[in-house]
């Protein structure tokens, strides 16, 4: 039997597995307080995913004050969308806007390297599409454990093949990334993915549902049992024994990507944007329909009604909670005026994309979701999407930090004899962190779309945005986590400075910053100290350089047992160049008689 709102009212004392879903006692109590009753299974599923660390940023949000405190009006001048949107957007001139963002897919990539990495690329590309942009290129900052560890042999080839398999099939050039080995990533490889896209400034689409009577359309792939891992406890609690029941517990929490479907979805979205028939749009990412419906409604000016049973399914016997939590890939949700629905459906049919009207924008301020006529969700959407819990986690500089900093390289023996120096240089040249990355980069298409001006082995990737004028953008991502571990504040500024330099030396002018903050557990005060220092370092560094942080992503809990990874705040810098023909390629010796100058000291 479906757990409806009426049923929830009638059975206030029904025990719910909220702890298994990751909610704390006080969080569950707050949900009951918001609703004035116990949540239904479907509501519980929604709140639990949306209030997870990953979706709610509950441990990190309090530190965002550093961004605002360090962003001056001049820095904001070119920013068309910033933190809080799917991705930051900057004005690069000539009527062009560029959007870019970094995101992590670390944990899924350890479980299933190929699909984890592939769906990481797929997810960030949909974020960029949700801004109304055409995705132009991807990058992939990667971190692995020791190169000779057997698990690295399992994880690395799969991750590289997954990044390539998805990006190549989507037709997005890979214009850069990083490959770093360090034993601290042994049980926690980092798969960060960046996507950059461009649009005309007037085509910027923000994710919100407004206009009473506008239709909510779900389009793209069918919804299946992918990635509902956690939520399956609901089914087993409620229906133990029957076909929706305990068997679900064994479901793998992995999603399988279908890059072909995403490629078609991209072209379909771009045609919809060109036709001007999209009022609001949202990608379906980590928290599936829970996220898309609550965020669209929360950011709009009304409520929303959704008939969940209209969602096209791939599996039989799915419960409303499962449909809401499914992480099936390659789906988008749009808000469309009633008069444009036919035109919308025609474009989807042309691209053979399944599209279904699942609801509409309503007066009032409730998100109401029905299942075969019965109400299973009735919530204020802001409480799901934007007013989740927020924590001031304890912060403490680790006790061993002083010892770590005191242990300088001065104690190491230095080679002095020529043959010692020679041996050292050879060892360095052959070391995995300095060796050629060709084995990786050769698996990535860097030519597709014909706009790649710089890619590996350049310091930054550069893409032509406007074919007529040659206007383009350059991007670099960097982070030396060993520096960050020694001094999170300065180390993060070094990451910023390196990415900034890598963009600048290509001939582009740095304009904006994104980040992906990969850290250990936020419940560890030492980790939170690293985190706070890193955020403040990045924010203040950006102020110094005069370029704003326009977005980013946080990945916590990157640790094995109680041992965290090195703090790894990957920083991405975007720059603009008015004519890519004036790019400066990496390398010396193209012409005889060149003079070599060393700048700085």
């Amino acid at each position: 039997m479906t757990d409806t709102v009426d049923n929830a009212k009638a059975t206030p004392d029904h025990e719910q597995p909220y702890r298994e879903l990751g909610l704390k006692d006080d969080e569950y109590a707050r949900i009951r307080e918001i609703l004035g009753r116990r949540p239904t299974d479907a509501e519980l599923a929604m709140y639990s995913v949306m209030w997870s660390e990953h979706c709610s940023y509950k441990s990190s949000k309090v530190h965002w004050k550093h961004w605002s405190a360090n962003t001056t009006p001049e820095m904001k001048a070119k920013m068309l969308a910033g933190i809080g949107e799917n991705a930051g957007v900057v004005d690069i001139g000539d009527g062009w806007a560029v959007t870019f963002k970094l995101e992590s897919h670390n944990h899924p990539s350890y479980v299933e390297p190929y699909q984890g990495a592939a769906t990481g690329v797929g997810g960030i590309v949909r974020d960029i599409m949700a801004m109304g942009a055409r995705p132009l290129a991807v990058m992939d900052p990667l971190r692995f454990g020791a190169p000779d560890h057997p698990d690295t042999r399992r994880v690395l080839p799969g991750i590289v093949a997954g990044v390539g398999g998805y990006g190549n099939c989507l037709g997005l050039p890979n214009i850069g990334g990083e490959v770093v080995f360090d034993p601290s990533y042994q049980g926690n490889p980092l798969v960060n993915a960046l996507c950059v896209g461009a649009m005309r400034t007037e085509d910027l689409h923000l994710a919100h549902a407004s206009g009473t009577g506008n239709k909510v359309i779900l389009f793209g792939a069918r919804t299946g049992l992918d990635g509902i891992g956690g939520v399956s406890v609901l089914a087993s609690e409620t229906f133990s024994g029957d076909e929706g029941g305990t068997g679900r517990k064994k479901l793998p929490a992995v999603q399988v990507g279908d890059p072909f479907t995403e490629k078609v979805l991209i072209e379909c979205c771009l045609e919809l944007f060109r036709e001007g028939i999209v009022v609001g749009i949202q990608d379906l990412g980590g928290a599936g329909l829970s996220c898309a419906t609550s965020e669209l409604a929360s950011a709009g000016d009304g409520g929303m009604r959704v008939e969940l049973d209209r969602v096209p399914l791939r599996a039989t016997g799915m419960t409303p909670a499962e449909v809401l939590s499914s992480e099936s890939q390659e789906r988008m949700c749009a808000v469309v005026e009633p008069a444009d629905v036919d035109a919308f459906m025609r474009v989807c049919a042309k691209w053979d994309v399944i599209a279904t009207e699942i609801g509409e924008v309503t007066d009032g301020d409730r998100l109401v979701i029905t299942w075969h006529g019965e109400t299973v969700v009735d919530v204020p959407p802001r409480t799901v999407a934007h007013e989740g819990p927020m924590y001031e986690r304890p912060i403490a500089r680790p006790q061993h930090q002083d010892a770590l900093v005191a242990d300088t390289p001065d104690t190491l023996a230095r080679p002095s004899a020529p043959d010692e120096l020679r041996a050292l240089v050879l060892r360095m040249a052959a070391s995995p962190n300095l060796a050629s990355r060709r084995w990786v980069t050769e698996q990535y298409d860097r030519y597709v779309r014909g706009g790649t001006v710089l890619a590996q082995p350049s310091d930054s990737g550069m893409i032509r945005v406007d074919e007529r004028t040659g206007r383009g953008v350059a991007l670099a991502t960097d982070c030396n986590a060993r520096f960050v571990k020694l001094d999170p504040y300065t180390g993060t500024q070094l990451a910023l400075a390196e990415a900034y330099r890598n963009v600048a030396v290509s001939g582009a002018t740095p304009l904006a910053v994104t980040n992906c903050l990969n850290f250990g557990s936020p419940e560890d005060p030492g980790v939170m100290w690293q985190f706070e220092q890193a955020v403040r370092g990045l924010a203040e560094g950006c102020k110094e350089l005069g370029i704003p942080v326009t977005g980013g992503n946080v990945s916590f809990y990157n640790q094995t047992g109680s041992t965290a990874i090195h703090p790894t705040p990957v920083v991405g810098v975007l720059g603009v160049i008015d004519d890519v023909r004036r790019r400066i390629p990496t390398g010396i010796g193209a012409e005889a008689g060149e003079t070599l100058l060393l700048l700085g000291d």
Binding site: E112, G224, V254, V256, D258, R314, S328
Partner: protein, 79 residues
């Protein structure tokens, strides 16, 4: 010497884009009546008689298939 066949298939609940692409194409090619297609891998191994079933299962599970997303079946098909 024995011939051993290992069939590896995506788990039923896992998306199978390849099988779906085939299923969608068939009606366009004029073939009606095929309601579902799933696509997996088929391995044929020439195996020494000394290799027992437990070893074959370990090869199939640990190497020929990816247990996170795939199931497998091992069959000896005579020599």
């Amino acid at each position: 010497m024995a011939r051993v066949v290992v069939d590896v298939m995506p788990k039923p609940e896992i998306l199978d884009p390849q099988g779906q692409a085939v299923a969608r194409a068939l009606p366009r090619l004029g073939f009606a009546g095929v309601s579902d297609v799933r696509q997996g891998k088929h391995f044929e191994l020439e195996v020494d008689d000394s290799v027992d079933d437990a070893t074959l299962a370990r090869i199939a599970e640990g190497f020929l298939s990816n247990p996170v997303v795939e199931d497998f079946v091992v069959r000896r098909v005579g020599s």
